[in-house]
């Protein structure tokens, strides 16, 4: 059975000129796999991720014919029930550790907070789990990092701390929204490997939201391409080069390559695409 099933998910925001639909009926299902959602800004990819976690701020309206997570209907969940789910079974990694870690709490305390909220471990036990988790995200000196504040670590390490915090309770589903965009290229690979490792070891489902086609093609099993609030293409990651939708093809063509010799890069014809 699929871990997550979504049918006809819509996210709307009321404005002065009526309801604006930012996600226009998205459907997909997810097993224990790595699913990539790619698209440009405004495509609705992040809103899709947030809707799954019940994180669309008011006055946004989320509706779906079906939003089933492990037998539970997410669209009917109360905020209280969601809080019990988030962090423990569903979790999310955000783009920039600088803005998503609490600056006045040490790293160890922050990671331990999730354990304290969702479990009944003793303080010493929590500390042990946090240290083990820091080690799992390849932090060489967990004892030292435990006591540091977020501003005292690099971006790459901050992102690993985020991952540690989000996976300390071994969630069933992780949503990673641009987990590597704020990082240097050399650190990106490392962060992705850690995520990959968690998927393999714990059987966690992963939804990777990104604007980076190539990264997603390399690190996911399956890809959804979003444009204008809709999924316009679904394919196996290895088959991205065989994509058929004009938007996907246009995006791929507009990327410069390392052995680039084209004089001009092809540009998307937005007006034509908008009519699709």
């Amino acid at each position: 059975m699929a871990l997550l099933e979504v049918e006809n998910l819509k996210v709307r925001f009321p404005t002065e000129r009526g309801l604006v639909e930012v996600v226009k009926g998205v459907s997909f299902s997810l097993g224990q796999e790595r699913l990539g959602i790619v698209g440009e800004s405004g495509s609705g990819k992040s809103m899709t991720g947030r809707a799954l976690l019940g994180l669309i701020p008011r006055p946004g309206i989320v509706t779906a014919d079906r939003m089933q997570f492990d037998g539970m209907d997410l669209s009917r969940l109360s905020e209280r029930a969601f809080r019990r789910l988030r962090g423990a079974r569903l979790s999310m990694i955000l783009q920039d550790p600088k803005f998503s870690l609490n600056p006045v709490m040490t790293i160890g305390e922050q990671i331990g907070e999730a354990l304290a909220f969702h479990g009944r471990l003793s303080g010493a036990e929590r500390r042990r789990r946090v240290l083990a988790m820091l080690e799992a995200v390849r932090i060489a000196d967990p004892e030292r990092v435990y006591g540091l504040y977020p501003h005292e670590v690099s971006g790459g390490m901050g992102q690993r701390v985020m991952i540690a915090m989000m996976t300390v309770l071994e969630p069933d589903l992780m949503i990673a929204d641009e987990p590597t965009s704020a990082l240097d290229v050399s650190v990106r690979g490392q962060v992705l490997e850690i995520l990959d490792d968690l998927v393999h070891r714990t059987g966690m489902g992963l939804i990777m939201i990104s604007h980076d086609l190539n990264m997603v093609a390399r690190w996911c099993d399956r890809i959804l391409v979003m444009f204008n609030g809709r999924v316009v293409e679904e394919c196996a990651a290895g088959k991205l080069s065989e994509a058929t939708h004009p938007y996907t093809r246009g995006l791929l063509a507009s990327l410069p390559r390392l052995d680039e010799t084209r004089d001009q890069l092809p540009v998307l014809d937005r007006q034509k695409l908008g009519a699709l």
């Binding site: 440009e40 800004s41 971006g155 240097d184 290229v185 050399s186 990106r188 690979g189 604007h211 980076d212 086609l213 190539n214 990264m215 093609a217 390399r218 990651a237 290895g238 991205l240 080069s241 246009g250 995006l251 791929l252 507009s254 990327l255 410069p256 390559r257 390392l258 052995d259 680039e260 010799t261 084209r262 004089d263 001009q264 890069l265 092809p266 540009v267 998307l268």
Partner: protein, 247 residues
């Protein structure tokens, strides 16, 4: 056009640029690549007069820079385009204000015609002239930033990651625009980026920087053939390929 010899920059006790020497020809497009902390942006800032504690010799065409002193001739010689088009425009000034200000300051006449010509040159419809930045998309804002930089008709553009905050399809538009403008106006580019494919598209040569030191200077063909000599240069290529090998 740009001649740098033994440039050293200190931020307090930190020595962030070490003995960097570059010689960039007129009309050349040159890239500085490296990761955060490599000092690549700092080199650019020193050239733009935004850093004062440096030593060495820097000449931009016939303009010689001195540490801590802003040479007024510099702004007519070189202008800068920044990474983030959301941060580099004044939120309460219109496109017209941004383009007009440098002309006013330098007492250049015929302003109206110059602004219209510049909007055409950067591919912005004339109807955008009196809009505010928040009414524009990221790509349109970057066009405004490029237009602003070109108003004083500089010979050199200093480009600090000019497309890394933009969507892929918009990046292609801006890269095409920069390439076209350089050909039309014979501009010299110094581009700072971490994105090697962008270098392949836009540049003739590149310098690889690590911890403030140049690891190697290579032609863009070497980059295209994955033939960088330094260990760090090869690492960067590997990282870039790792991201794209299966696509």
């Amino acid at each position: 056009m740009i001649r740098i010899e033994k440039l050293n920059v200190h931020y307090g006790a930190a020595h962030v640029v070490k003995d960097v020497s570059l010689d960039i020809a007129t009309g050349e497009s040159f890239a500085l690549v490296g990761e955060s902390g490599s000092g690549k942006s700092t080199v650019l800032k020193a050239l733009a007069g935004q850093v004062s504690d440096w030593s060495g010799s820097v000449e931009m065409g016939d303009v010689r820079l001195e540490p801590g002193r802003m040479n007024p001739a510099l702004v007519r010689k070189a202008q800068m385009v920044f990474q983030d088009p959301y941060g580099s425009l004044h939120p309460r000034r219109t496109v017209d204000d941004h383009l007009d200000e440098p002309l006013q300051i330098h007492g250049i006449g015929n302003r109206d015609a110059r602004i219209l010509a510049m909007l055409d040159a950067v591919g912005l419809a004339r109807k955008f002239r009196f809009r505010l930045p928040h009414q524009l998309s990221g790509g349109q804002r970057q066009r405004v930033a490029i237009a602003r930089a070109l108003m004083l008709e500089p010979e050199i553009l200093l480009l600090d990651e000019p497309t890394s905050a933009l969507d892929v399809s918009v990046q292609a538009e801006i890269l095409n625009l920069l390439k076209g403008l350089r050909a039309e106006r014979g501009l010299t580019f110094l581009l700072v980026t971490h994105d090697l494919p962008v270098v392949s598209f836009l540049c003739d040569r590149l310098a690889v920087l690590k911890s403030g030191q140049i690891q190697e200077i290579a032609g863009v063909d070497q980059l295209r053939h994955r033939d960088l000599k330094s260990g760090y240069g090869r690492e960067l290529i590997q990282a870039a390929e790792g991201m794209s090998e299966r696509a």
